[in-house]
Amino acid sequence: MSARGEALYIERLSAGYPRRRVIEGLTLDPFPEGRITALVGPNAAGKSTLMLALAGLIRATGAVRLGRRDILGMTVAERAGVVTFMPQALPQGVALSALESVMASLKASPVTGSETGGPRIRECAFAALERLSIGDIALEPLNRLSGGQRQLVSLAQAVIREPRVLLLDEPTSALDLRHQTQVMGLVRTLASEGKVVVIVLHDLNLAARWADHIVVLSDGAAAAQGDPEQAITPGMLARVYGVEAQVGRSALGHLQISVERVLEQSVRGRA
């Protein structure tokens, strides 16, 4: 943790939707600053709900604090100055260029809107695209980009405002291997600049390779948490995912999960 020590604390958090409570009284180990925290877990485990609650997009009770600052109690505008959320997908059929969409992310925000004017905003927006190596599609309309390209533009919109807490909901789901690695490399850089980075990932190998801290969610509760070695174990994989799997190491020393087979319900229960 850096000198400021501003970890993200989640305590007794309850969140969900009008007729469906997904998370109930969830308390997690602090998400450290300067590190990547990955939220993993099977479908419908509550990963996206937790993300939306942290982003202030659904009603939640309990405490979410950055250091001593209460994030749940902030107004939309105050929260925007601290937290940035990247949703899973950009809507389709939007007749805006990649550059304009990033410019709008800067100008529409009460945090950065008045600081950036004229040519400066274009330069900032283009630099954000260049950072993800997509400067060449800056003037392409979003509705003509591939799913992967849209995801990269979406990431550029999220990172341009230099937030303290960066929440990324499956930022690599539509990306090929090269771009996955590139994006995770960028996420690593952003974390090392002192941000709290929280990222929802479906790919456990990707999470094990890049995350410093992993929270395994299952039915809205934490089934395991800690560094990748602590969180990802054959026991957890059997209990939470219902698969028999081996956890080993690659030649480069990264944690590697290989799934052998699906466990029968009874075996899963005992595991």
Binding site: L90, A95, S97, L99, P110, R122, F126, N143
Partner: protein
């Protein structure tokens, strides 16, 4: 995505290209303004009377050169109608543009979401039953009723948008339900109407500029002047809303307030426009779509372009309504519907999402 060996454009190239794109957009807006003026002049110069283009224009510049009858035609018939076509076109189109963005639905417009039907019902109450706001003179009673009902219908939509903060779709469905409800209520009033009232009501529902006066045009202009600055001030927020509600919220945009204010503006524009000219279909749909095709959805350009497109289409429709059948002025609502329906179908069947 280019390979590593490709020559990648530098920042200067891209930013210069963007600057020239902005310049092109401004030129397109200027060109549209010129077309609007041209259409306005043609609109002034055409009509069932024998008054030619040259005399009509001369009469505008030097009124004393016209005889009494010609002066009435120019100043009390053609000029109010031509001005009203521009203002109503701009108002309905701006309302449609904002509604499409706010409700995230390309089919949203004052007509498709029932505001025009609500206004018609208000007018029907005045025409058929003589029900109106106490103290309002007979000259204005139909307009005031139409305005109140259109405004009220949008307030209902706005209230719903506050309750269903995350549901643009349910608001659209509610609007469609209003469309059918008010149409049924209008049919009911038609059923009980006297022959004379029925004739007046049917004429009203067709939408027509013939009731326009300079006073009424001034009211529409004043509402536009009041609303447009607020629309333009919201341009960036509206653009950000196109990137999705969650993202806009995460940027700090207060989406429910933006939505409420936008619907309020749309209700003022629609209520005023419909009150004076009756039901004019599809302008609120066609105008924004043309603007989007020409200039994209950066709302700094999209909103003014929508207004110009709406003004242009209604002005051209006004010319057409006088030219198609010589000696007769067709109700302009019929003309816009005939232009609008094929356009609507192209929109529905032509929507293709790229991979």
């Amino acid at each position: 995505m280019p390979e590593a060996g490709d020559a990648r454009p530098g920042a200067t190239d891209v930013l210069e290209a963007y600057t020239s794109l902005v310049r092109v957009r401004l030129l397109v807006i200027l060109a549209m303004a010129v077309l609007v003026i041209a259409s306005f002049v043609v609109d002034l110069a055409t009509g069932p009377s024998a008054l030619g283009a040259r005399d009509a224009l001369r009469g505008l510049i030097a009124p004393h050169t016209l005889d009494r009858a010609a002066a009435v035609i120019v100043w009390e018939v053609r000029l109010p109608q031509a001005v009203m076509a521009l203002l109503v076109g701009a108002a309905l189109s701006l309302a449609g543009a904002e509604m499409q963005t706010i409700l995230n639905n390309p089919m949203a417009s004052p007509f498709t979401l029932g505001m025009s039907s609500a206004a018609t019902f208000g007018a029907a109450l005045a025409i058929v039953l003589g029900v109106g706001v106490p103290g309002v003179s007979q000259t204005w009673i139909i307009s005031v009723n139409a305005f109140l009902f259109a405004f009220g219908s949008v307030l209902l939509l706005s209230a719903l948008s506050r309750v269903h903060a995350r549901g643009g779709e349910s608001i659209v469905l509610f609007g469609i339900a209003m469309f059918f409800t008010f149409n049924a209520l209008v049919a009911l009033t038609q059923f009980i109407a006297s022959e004379q009232a029925l004739q007046q009501l049917v004429f009203w529902t067709m939408g027509s500029l013939t009731r326009a006066t300079l006073d009424k045009a001034f009211v529409v202009a004043a509402v536009l002047a009041l609303v447009v600055p607020f629309s333009l001030l919201s341009a960036w927020q509206l653009t950000a809303l196109r990137l999705g509600q969650d993202r806009a919220l995460s940027l700090g945009v207060r989406v429910s307030r933006l939505r409420f204010a936008g619907l309020l503006r749309a209700s003022l524009l629609t209520g005023t426009a419909v009150a004076f000219v009756g039901t004019i279909a599809f302008i609120g749909l066609v105008g924004p779509h043309l603007a989007r095709l020409l200039l994209g959805e950066d709302h700094r350009f999209f909103l003014p372009a929508s207004m110009l497109c709406g003004a242009l289409v209604l002005s051209v429709a006004s010319c057409a309504s006088k030219i198609v059948v010589p000696g007769l002025v067709l109700p302009i609502g019929l003309v816009t519907s005939l232009i609008g329906v094929p356009f609507f179908l192209v929109l529905i069947f032509g929507r293709r999402e790229p991979a």
